[in-house]
């Protein structure tokens, strides 16, 4: 009896195992046709993993998940696209995972923020260059808006010019090496606003909290966060006012007003209204350099070095089609309340390569600016 039950148990066990294996093989065979479809690589039957260098709660992860959903429709072969968060070391672990360990067939791709500034300044952990990756395309999340509490200066802030020449501004910031902080405070320097840089806030949410309580009175935020979280809590209540928005670089490399905040004066316009001329000089050169390096393409898709060419091409085409599709744009507007912009891989390559073209004067100025904001 006992032997019989053991034999039965063994049979069931091995039978189940064999079943799982055969099912998996047959599933792969049914869908796993990687043959070329119309001369193109196909991801049919594949699972593509987007390794996201952010934690699951970050807004960028939501963008990544949305893109993953639409990539399933627009990538040739309609693969399954899954998202994995690898936030460690500010996303550097995710970069290195794709750089060193991802297969070359395009089934593992990096998505998320990149820091060309980290590469330029050789910040801790940057043991690689972005030019080592296979560029697949980028995403423009939106520019920056710098705003101040209306009680930031004596007499109140009634217009952007009110903050100039005062000594009571306290800028709530993350570590001074953060690209968004550097360019925003350089903008304040450019228009002649004096401020004390209060470093140490770990996130934009903490800075917004400090602005609301009045602990600091000037801050910067991404345009969509400004619209969704600053406007209803502070601007609509008469507690804050936008000072300026950072301009954006369009596909031709020209400076344009941020279309998400058309009513907020852009930095060059504000400067021109104050000085009667277009901005120039080392501060402006540094700002335009940082716009190209850090603010034009906030998120990137990167493949491993030496990624299969046909797979890379298919991915690029699928990404472009997905991001320009009406379905994606409508859903993005509904879910994110803005539509992320598409950056083609050629433009991406230019932006990633821009670190090599930074002039020594600008580099020195950026370092000196960080040093100034680091004083304790």
């Amino acid at each position: 009896m006992m032997n019989c039950s053991i034999t039965h148990w063994h049979r069931m066990l091995w039978g189940s195992l064999a079943g799982i294996f055969l099912l998996s093989c047959s599933a792969d065979r049914t869908d796993g046709n990687k043959a070329l479809v119309d001369g193109q690589h196909s991801f049919a039957g594949e699972t593509i993993t987007l390794v996201i260098g952010l934690d699951a709660s970050a807004g960028g992860t939501t963008v990544g998940r949305l893109l993953a959903k639409h990539l399933e429709t627009y990538l040739a072969g309609n693969p399954t696209v899954v998202v994995n968060n690898m936030p460690g070391a500010s996303g550097l672990n995710a970069h290195l995972h794709v750089l060193l360990k991802a297969p070359k067939d395009g089934t593992t791709v990096y998505y998320g923020p990149r820091s060309s500034l980290g590469e330029l300044l050789e910040l801790p952990g940057f043991s690689f260059k972005y030019s080592q990756f296979t560029p697949l395309g980028g995403v423009q999340i939106g520019g920056l808006v710098i705003y101040a509490r209306t009680d930031a200066v004596a007499g109140g802030v009634s217009e952007p010019q009110s903050v100039i020449g005062t000594t009571t501004l306290r800028f709530g910031g993350m570590p001074p090496e953060h690209g968004r902080m550097i360019i925003s405070t350089m903008g304040l320097d450019l228009i002649g606003a004096n401020y004390k840089y209060i470093a140490g806030y770990p996130s934009s949410g903490n800075i917004r909290a400090a602005i609301i309580s009045g602990e600091v009175n000037v801050a910067t935020d991404a345009a969509h966060s400004y619209l969704n979280q600053v406007v209803p809590v502070l601007v609509d209540e008469g507690l804050a006012l936008p000072i300026f928005s950072m301009p954006m670089l369009n596909a031709d490399g020209e400076l344009v007003q941020n279309s998400m905040v058309p009513d907020v004066p852009s930095l060059p316009d504000l400067y021109a209204s104050l000085h009667g001329e277009a901005p120039s000089g080392i501060i402006w050169d540094s700002i335009t350099t940082l716009l190209e390096l850090d603010q034009t393409m906030q998120h990137v898709f990167l493949g491993p070095p030496g990624m299969d060419r046909a797979a890379a091409e298919t991915f690029r085409e699928g990404l472009e089609a997905a991001m320009n599709s009406v379905a994606f744009r409508d859903e993005a507007q509904h879910i994110l309340s803005y539509v992320p912009g598409y950056v083609g891989y050629r433009r991406q390559t230019e932006i990633l390569g821009a670190t090599a073209n930074v002039s020594p004067q600008v580099l020195e100025y950026i370092k000196a600016h960080i040093e100034k904001n680091s004083r304790y």
């Binding site: 066990l13 792969d28 690898m86 460690g88 470093a199 903490n206």
Partner: protein, 674 residues
């Protein structure tokens, strides 16, 4: 206001909303019971499904799941001594000793009931104080947050067992661990040893699981006893009823801790990680007879469990009203709000007030529903406490290590978990309290940040004169006084130490103290090269740590000399100490664990973990090979079908995978084993 309150309740009572609500509760219960998962991961998994849902149904699903994790988090904390979420850390202290005593059903009944009461009381506290709450939240700027963090740290006094010196030294160790990674004030790496894993900061969950879970599992492995040391669990149904009665008997404590939990939840940044410790410390100091705290006093279980459910409602307020999420979970919820066209801001407390109240209702009702579901399952769940230790250990180790892995999918998490397993073992055997390490690790970052921001803004210590700061300072002094008086009273009364930090083995404590001394000294020396804002905290911590560890070294040396005098020779003394600490048995256990990590580097988790489990069951458990095979296959199925196919977890890209994947034909389903 009352109209909005009932309108909010009415929003929930729609058939499809109730359906999503029930589904959310069940998902939340499962997520909360698996180590490392927690509410935030449940939200991440559910969020994409809500894209096309209408707001009330979407939030019924999300909030029910989020609130239920706090309730079910008690299961592993009580049964296995493994805190499955950050919110259930303090539950271990008295919950696990109760399970060991064969009172698992009573402990679970008490904790689930306290969770339900906590959820309801927390929501009620919010409802009552909603009109007044915003000015209070806004009054807590960096100086007040620093003092509140410091107040949290004074709970070390209640968590230190019989040696305040060891407790404070352990807290300094935790604070030093909190300085690991890039400084907030400047991108300079501190104590990372060149590794990327520690560049951000040391993640909490692997440290928590290592410090608490691994020493307990090792004890089970070495003794091969069931969790219920008596070998039998009392009548589960009666135990359950007793637990429910306990919660109502101590209703005033439960209500007070719920209110504390709700208000701590409102302060962004503090949250789940400290609320358990703070309310545990509060309960211990506020009850008349606390001599059984740490040894299975049900009040030590009720306090954190009530608070961690009440916290959820509190955490919603700054998220909804100010757009300030205080945790990963609330950040995801805020994203969901925006997705569904709701803008966080004052409108959530005016025009959208019924919606806000419906969210508060959902959290309160989810706590109750989750409790009712869980109470039904207790009879079955407590049977785990009767399983032989050797059968429990490998399966739990799988969940512990995968729980550690969930955070950032790095092998560093496993190394961290295993290393802190060794540290936890040494601390436990040497009579060092472990809770202060975790409490300080959580609070360290908040303390450093808020201290430096306060000093920067006020250009000096001027912030110390702010009214709330002074009130908090007074409470801190009072708390320290009460803690010192309590320890002194215990010593003078000759109370026999038991529970956390009760073991006395100077031969194990001394080397650990020496290690800490050397660690603090090296940390101080390294910090000298950094700029002022980066070195300030590490220097303060390591300076104090050097002195405190030196004090422990001197005391341990004296104890050791006394022991040596009693036993005759150093050899006998050390042999006895090693025997008491079971060092000889512990070494092979850790060798297995580190061996598993090495094997994972070579062949990946899907092969290494089942192999480790099979080997363990055969070699340590002396079970038959077919039992080991079935266990291994079960573990492999969990890895492949749950963690891979459901969770879409990124597994370690092993050398085998890197070599084999490019040459395998596409028809081979490599995801089954690589």
């Amino acid at each position: 206001m009352f109209e909005a309150l009932f309108e909010g309740l009415g929003l929930i009572f729609q058939m499809h909303v109730l359906g999503y609500f029930a589904l959310g509760c069940i998902i939340g219960i499962v997520m909360g019971a698996i180590p490392g998962m927690g509410g935030a991961i449940g939200l991440v998994l559910l969020l994409p499904f809500t894209f096309s849902m209408e707001p009330v149904a979407a939030f019924a699903l999300l909030l029910a799941s989020w609130a239920s994790t706090s309730t079910s988090g008690a299961i592993t904390a009580v049964l296995l001594g493994v805190p499955s979420t950050a919110a259930s850390q303090a539950t271990v202290l008295d919950g696990y000793p109760m399970a060991k005593r064969g009172e698992a059903a009573r402990a679970l009944g008490a904790s689930f009931t306290a969770s339900a009461i906590g959820g309801v009381c927390g929501a009620a506290a919010l409802g009552i104080s909603l009109p007044l709450i915003l000015p209070v939240i806004l009054a807590f700027e960096s100086p007040e947050q620093f003092m509140l963090g410091l107040l949290g740290l004074t709970m070390v006094g209640s968590l230190s067992g019989q040696s305040i010196t060891k407790g404070v030294a352990a807290a300094m160790f935790g604070l030093l661990l909190a300085t690991i990674g890039l400084a907030e004030s400047q991108a300079i790496p501190r104590y990372t040893f060149g590794t990327l894993y520690m560049l951000d900061k040391l993640p909490l969950i692997p440290v928590l699981l290592g410090l608490f879970a691994i020493p307990e599992l090792m004890e089970l492995a070495l003794n091969n006893v069931s969790i219920a040391r008596t070998g039998k669990s009392g009548d589960a149904a009666e135990g359950l009823r007793q637990g429910v009665r306990d919660a109502f008997k101590h209703w005033w404590l439960v209500v007070r801790c719920s209110v504390i939990g709700a208000y701590i939840g409102m302060l962004p940044g503090l949250g789940a990680s400290i609320v358990g410790w703070v309310t545990y410390g509060y309960a211990k100091q506020s009850v008349k007879d606390n001599s059984l705290f740490g040894q299975g006093d049900v009040r030590g279980l009720l306090a954190p469990e009530a608070a961690n459910n009440a916290l959820r409602g509190g955490a919603l307020i700054p998220t909804l009203a100010l757009g300030i999420p205080g945790s990963v979970g609330t950040a995801i919820l805020m994203g969901a709000l925006i997705m569904h066209g709701l803008r966080p801001g004052p409108s959530m407390l005016s025009t959208e007030l019924p919606m806000t109240f419906s969210f508060v209702w959902m959290i309160a009702i989810a706590s109750v529903v989750a409790t009712l579901i869980l109470l039904k399952t207790v009879n079955q769940v407590v049977k785990v406490a009767l399983l032989p230790g050797q059968l429990v250990v490998p399966g739990v180790l799988l969940f512990v290590f995968m729980g550690a892995w969930l955070g950032d999918a790095s092998i560093g998490a496993w190394v961290s978990c295993a290393v802190f397993g060794v540290v936890g073992f040494l601390m436990k055997r040497g009579g060092w309290p472990r809770p202060p390490v975790i409490l300080a690790l959580v609070l360290g970052e908040i303390l450093e940040r808020s201290f430096q921001i306060s000093t920067r803004i006020h250009e000096g210590p001027g912030w110390l004169g702010r009214p709330i700061v002074l009130v908090l300072l007074l409470i801190i002094v009072l708390t320290i006084f009460l803690a010192v008086r309590g320890v002194a009273r215990d010593k003078s009364a000759g109370t026999v130490a038991a529970g956390e930090a009760s073991e006395k083995n100077p031969a194990v404590s001394l080397p650990f103290a020496v290690l800490l001394f050397v660690g603090f000294a090296c940390a101080a020396y390294t910090a000298l090269d950094w700029p002022p804002s980066v070195r300030q905290f590490p220097l303060m911590i390591s300076g104090s740590g050097v002195l405190l560890s030196l004090a422990v070294i001197i005391r341990d040396l004296l104890h050791l000399l006394v022991t040596k005098k009693a036993l005759g020779t150093w050899r006998v003394t050390l042999q006895q100490a090693s025997h008491d600490a079971r060092l000889a048995s512990a070494l092979p256990f850790f060798a297995y664990v580190f061996g598993m990590i090495m094997l994972t580097l070579l062949v990946g988790q899907k092969i290494a973990l089942p192999l480790f489990i099979g080997l363990y069951v055969v070699r340590w458990g002396n079970y038959r090979k077919r039992v080991a095979l079935a266990y291994s296959l079960g573990s492999w199925a969990i890895l492949v079908f749950f963690y891979d196919q459901v969770m879409h977890l990124l597994f370690h890209p092993s050398y085998l995978a890197l070599w084999l994947q490019p040459i395998l034909p596409s028809s081979v389903p490599d995801w089954l084993f690589l």
